[in-house]
């Protein structure tokens, strides 16, 4: 018997806008803010369904923003979690799944990205952006033909979409169909007849090895506008890529022409510096390479070529410094091998032979590089890897990420925005939780409040709401932590103290309950609290004090049947069964059918092995109170012991119907079914019991037996091991 504390009402949490990020990221959280504001307006109008809908929109927007912030910070796992949350927050899933797919692509999970995007496209076939992304994912996962197919379908839906047409042309280049690509590029040019379009097309041809077509487009761009940016640059790259050192001078000329248009272009400076080094014009290369090292992040090539130039100019000390920095930054094997080799040469020049030998040995590991001729080496250097710096080469994926305005925020601004979003999410979860609690759906309420507490454990009211809701859902063990935290925040809150005390009482932490209630001023005027205190005293081994409490209760409130029951239970707890039985029988005399008198007698008789009397007492309790599932459970225990398993099963099923979480019922049901040879059904109940009470060794033992009977020896062994471990643990903790 647990004296109940009246449910404490929870209130919806309306907040003045907390730390709005407006000044940090204007507009970035506007949709989220609008959803929360609309939810709170609807709540004030009493339209709870509309409020819930807006709160769910707020969750969607909040998690999308949170995921984007994590992605922008490169924390892909956290981004994935956030987008998954977004995908289950509201009816809409498109944006969350697309974002999730982008994260999967960035994480290298190409097949998963394709799977997600295929679903997105199936649900929204007219979404050309999603198709574009799917095409990109297909390319990434080595399915260029399917990518083109996807793009063709997208283009059929949006024939005037120039971006789509451009990407489709690129897809055909990938499939080695430049004639088809050329026709599509012509359409793009028709739509945007500016020199920049030609540069873009030229560069794309270059990327796919169509050098002659690339040259034609780039020269046409320059003819259209001699000052157009990047045309000379790409022509220079083409000269190197196509013919290597043979057309080095031509490349140098093009890079120089580009620099005339934009003298501080770091990428062109780097390429010019590299080309000059390859052409043995080391002194001329130096200023360009020095300039290139100022890029953020600095490219490894700038330092590696600077090192080579310094070495060639007999400046080994400076060469060593530059090469060491270059090796720190380098990621590709090609560069690392070459860097070690050059560094070895520089160190040998300085007489540091041992160090030089180490670097030569490292370089040996990358010896393939030295087999390359100068043309190949330069072409490979320029065509990719570290510090390529070709920012224009973007897939739809990187474009999708780079397009986020979040990437433009400074790290501290992102942190502030993240805090704001997290708080807003917590607030939405709290209010959704409270709405469910008010609608008397405590389990659902707990789900939302737990989310809020996970996000922001110190969010106002969250621990309080969680504790109260878990308490009202009779999840006492889980209620203790949030109630303790809430009480620490509001030590004067008597309701909180009482709920916490009751939670302790219900989880056998009797001393804690005593500590909380002993100086409680409200206790003296509240019989239920007095009873709770008395029970806690009894169960923490302080029976004499308990009897004083109960006697005082009897004196103050008369010879009532209910108090007789409590007193009887208190005696029974002490093991004084004789007094207990006397008290309980007296209570029944005063009020036949008083709650828990007969069931308490039944339990005492059961402990004394008086099964027939126990059965009769428990049946009497159930006759008076058919909803007392505890009594029904005890009757099932008695019936099982008395060899009446069929009737026990029937009672246990009734217990489970009323409360499917009853571990005792599931355990006994499983045990009886197992004894009857029905191991398959027994496993269902025992697994459920083990899930809810993983520390119950008896459940583990029975589950092990059930697995064994079903011919699942490995699982059986795991359960027996768990059983033994739990037994050992209990032995070691029992004095």
């Amino acid at each position: 018997m647990t004296p109940r504390v009246t449910s404490v009402a929870l209130v919806i949490f309306f907040l003045a806008d907390p730390a709005s990020p407006g000044e940090v990221a204007p507009g970035l959280s506007a949709v989220l803010d609008r959803a929360v504001a609309a939810a709170e307006t609807s709540l004030r109008e009493g339209e709870r369904e509309v409020a819930e809908s807006f709160y769910r929109s707020a969750l969607l927007e909040g998690w999308l923003l949170e995921g984007s912030l994590e992605a922008a910070a490169g924390r892909l796992d956290a981004a994935r979690d956030a987008f998954r949350q977004a995908s289950s927050s509201a009816v809409e899933t498109q944006r969350a799944l697309q974002a999730l797919a982008v994260v999967e692509l960035r994480s290298g999970n190409k097949a998963e990205a394709v799977r997600l995007l295929t679903r997105v496209v199936a649900q929204a076939p007219r979404d050309s952006g999603a198709r574009l992304l799917l095409a990109d994912a297909l390319v990434e996962s080595g399915q260029p033909q399917q990518a083109v197919q996807e793009l063709e379908e997208a283009r059929a839906i949006a024939p005037d979409d120039l971006e789509l047409t451009f990407v489709l042309a690129t897809g055909y280049l990938r499939l080695k169909k430049p004639e088809v690509a050329e026709r599509l590029f012509a359409k793009v040019l028709e739509g945007r007849p500016i020199p920049q379009t030609r540069v873009l097309i030229g560069r794309t041809y270059r990327d796919f090895g169509e050098y002659e077509r690339a040259r034609v487009e780039l020269r046409a761009a320059l003819k259209q506008d001699p000052t157009v940016r990047r045309a000379h640059y790409h022509l220079g790259m083409l000269a190197v890529l196509d013919e290597g050192v043979v057309r080095l001078e031509e490349a140098i000329g093009e890079f120089q022409a580009e620099l005339k248009l934009e003298p501080r272009d770091l990428v062109t400076s780097l390429r010019l510096g590299m080309a000059l080094v390859e052409a043995q014009r080391h002194a001329e290369a130096l200023p360009h390479l020095e300039l290139a090292t100022s890029a953020d992040p600095p490219p490894a090539d700038a330092f590696l070529y600077l090192g080579r130039a310094r070495l060639a100019m007999d400046q080994p000390q400076e060469a060593v410094a530059a090469l060491e920095r270059g090796l720190e930054l380098a990621k590709s094997e090609l560069r690392i091998g070459s860097g070690h080799y050059q560094l070895g040469l520089a160190l040998r020049r300085l007489g540091r032979h041992d160090e030089a030998a180490r670097h030569f040995s490292e370089a040996e590991r990358y010896s393939t590089e030295r087999a390359l001729n100068a043309r190949e080496r330069l072409a490979r250097y320029l065509s990719g890897g570290d510090g390529d710096g070709d920012a224009e080469r973007k897939s739809a994926v990187s474009a999708a990420l780079a397009a986020s305005p979040l990437s433009a925020l400074a790290p501290d601004e992102r942190d502030r925005l993240r805090r704001y979003v997290t708080n807003t999410l917590a607030r939405s979860y709290v209010n959704l939780g409270v709405m469910h609690a008010q609608a008397e759906r405590p389990a659902r309420a707990v789900d939302f409040l737990e989310q809020a507490a996970r996000l922001v454990p110190d969010f106002p009211q969250v621990q309080y709401s969680l504790g109260v809701t878990r308490f009202n859902a009779q999840r006492f063990e889980a209620a203790i932590e949030p109630l303790s935290r809430a009480l620490a925040e509001s030590p004067e809150n008597a309701d909180l103290r009482h709920m916490l005390a009751m939670s302790y009482l219900n989880t056998s932490a009797y001393q804690n309950a005593v500590d909380l209630l002993q100086d409680d001023r409200a206790r003296a005027a509240s019989p239920p609290l007095q009873v709770a205190y008395g029970l806690a005293l009894v169960r923490s081994g302080r029976a004499q004090e308990a009897q004083r409490v109960f006697s005082r209760l009897l004196a103050e409130h008369g010879d009532s049947a209910e108090l007789g029951v409590f007193l009887g239970q208190a005696y029974a707890q002490q093991g004084d069964y004789e007094s207990a039985v006397r008290s309980l029988l007296h209570a029944l005399e005063l009020q036949p059918g008083v709650a828990e008198a007969s069931s308490s007698l039944g339990v005492i008789y059961l402990k004394q092995g008086r099964l027939a009397e126990a059965e009769a007492a428990l049946r009497a309790e159930l006759q008076a109170h058919p909803d007392d599932q505890r009594a029904r459970q005890n009757l099932a225990n008695v019936l099982e012991l008395a060899g009446k398993p069929e009737e026990a099963l029937s009672h246990l099923r009734t217990v489970l119907k009323a409360g499917p979480d009853s571990v005792d019922a599931r355990y006994l049901l499983g045990k009886i079914l197992l004894a009857q040879g029905n191991a398959a059904d027994a496993v269902i109940h025992l697994e459920a019991a083990a899930q809810q009470a993983p520390e119950d060794s008896n459940v583990r033992y029975q589950l092990g037996q059930a697995y064994q009977k079903l011919g699942r020896p490995d699982e059986a062994q795991r359960q027996f091991d768990a059983f033994r471990a739990l037994k050992d643990k209990r032995r070691s903790t029992t004095p």
Binding site: S53, F83, Q85, E92, R115, Q123, K657, I684, H685, A688
Partner: protein, 349 residues
């Protein structure tokens, strides 16, 4: 000039003295009725609200309160009038939900779904609206709108067994048994020992010829509800599928004693009689089964066999055609819906 235009502006904004007095009188009455409602003096509140409504339009909360009280008093027409007013004037989703419930109680599934569609335009993520849509659609044997509501519900409220159960039933109604089994298993995992789920699971497993698993689920259902006719009939079907004809017949007869037109029990009798080569009796039983469940493809298949054995080629072919037609209908609906509603794996269960 400037002052004059300000005054004109004010005149447009401020009510006249007479209007103010009337509004104040209304406000006092509204506050009084709100107090009555808070004190649960429903009879007084109802009388007061009727008078107030007769005098002029009510604000949202009082219109809804009046509707509630009229409904409680069994006066559907004035209740509906207030609800329609609240829905039109304030876009009240509460009013729309109530109207949909009234439509559904009149078995007007179409009207109820239309009202819920309007509610979803205002509150697309509302669990209550989606849940009602699913229930109304299922009750009207319209699985497609049910599934459209249940897909987001099972995603947003993944821990609620009931929604997975309803989803399973919807897929069953639609004829996609593998997906139904998936949903029902999830419902059973979340809330074990729920007879309805176990029966649904048994029926779906039977349909997939997984009779052994079906039998386990149905036995569990019967442990919880020993007299459930659906469970007994489905268990009979499982037994018949496993070739245990005696048990199947005994169970089917138990059901038919209490409900002679029970579709599944008649189907089982048909199956048993077919295996016993008592084709005429089989045909009679199967025709009863087809009457009880005209959407079943299996019944028509068996009927075509029975008719063929009896030499009635015309009827046999007719049933074969019906069987193929049912299968095609199922396939089309399933393909369309699978593309739309299959979870894309956002949240991991």
């Amino acid at each position: 000039m400037r002052r004059a235009s300000v005054l004109v502006g004010l005149m447009a904004v401020l009510p006249t003295q007479a209007q103010t007095t009337a509004a104040t009188g209304r406000d006092v009455r509204h506050e009084r009725v709100r107090r009555q409602l808070a004190d649960k003096h429903d009879a007084e509140a109802l009388a007061e609200l009727r008078e107030a409504a007769a005098a002029g339009a009510l604000p949202r909360d009082l219109a809804l309160a009046l509707a509630r009280l009229e409904l409680a008093a069994g006066h559907l027409e004035p209740a509906e009038q207030q609800l329609r007013y609240a829905a039109e004037r304030f876009g009240s989703v509460q009013a729309l939900l109530q109207l949909a419930r009234l439509d559904a109680s009149r078995r007007d599934t179409g009207a109820a779904l239309e009202t819920l569609r309007r509610a979803l335009e205002i509150a697309p993520n509302s669990e209550e609206v989606l849940s009602l849509q699913a229930q109304v659609a299922l009750a009207g044997r319209s699985p497609v709108p049910a599934i459209r509501a249940l897909e987001p519900l099972t995603r947003m409220c993944a821990s609620v067994a009931h929604y997975h159960y309803l989803q399973g039933v919807s897929w069953m109604q639609l004829g996609d048994m593998p997906t139904a089994i998936e949903s029902l298993r999830e419902a059973d995992r979340l809330e074990p020992s729920r007879p309805l789920t176990l029966i649904g699971l048994g029926l779906a497993l039977n349909n997939r010829k997984l009779h052994d698993e079906a039998r386990t689920a149905l036995r569990r259902a019967l442990e919880l509800e020993p007299d459930n006719l659906e469970a007994i009939a489905a268990l009979a079907e499982a037994n018949a599928g496993l070739g245990e004809l005696q048990e199947a017949e005994a169970l089917a007869l138990r059901v038919l004693e209490r409900d002679g037109s029970h579709a599944t029990a008649n189907l089982v009798m048909g199956m048993v009689r077919m295996k016993q080569e008592r084709h005429a009796e089989a045909r009679v039983a199967l025709e009863k089964a087809a009457e009880g469940d005209p959407a079943s493809s299996k019944v028509h298949y068996l009927l075509s066999l029975a008719c063929a054995r009896l030499g009635d080629q015309v009827a046999s072919e007719a049933h074969l055609e019906l069987y193929k037609k049912r299968l095609k209908e199922i396939e089309e609906r399933v393909t369309q819906l699978r593309n739309e509603t299959r979870p894309a794996g956002g949240m991991q269960r």
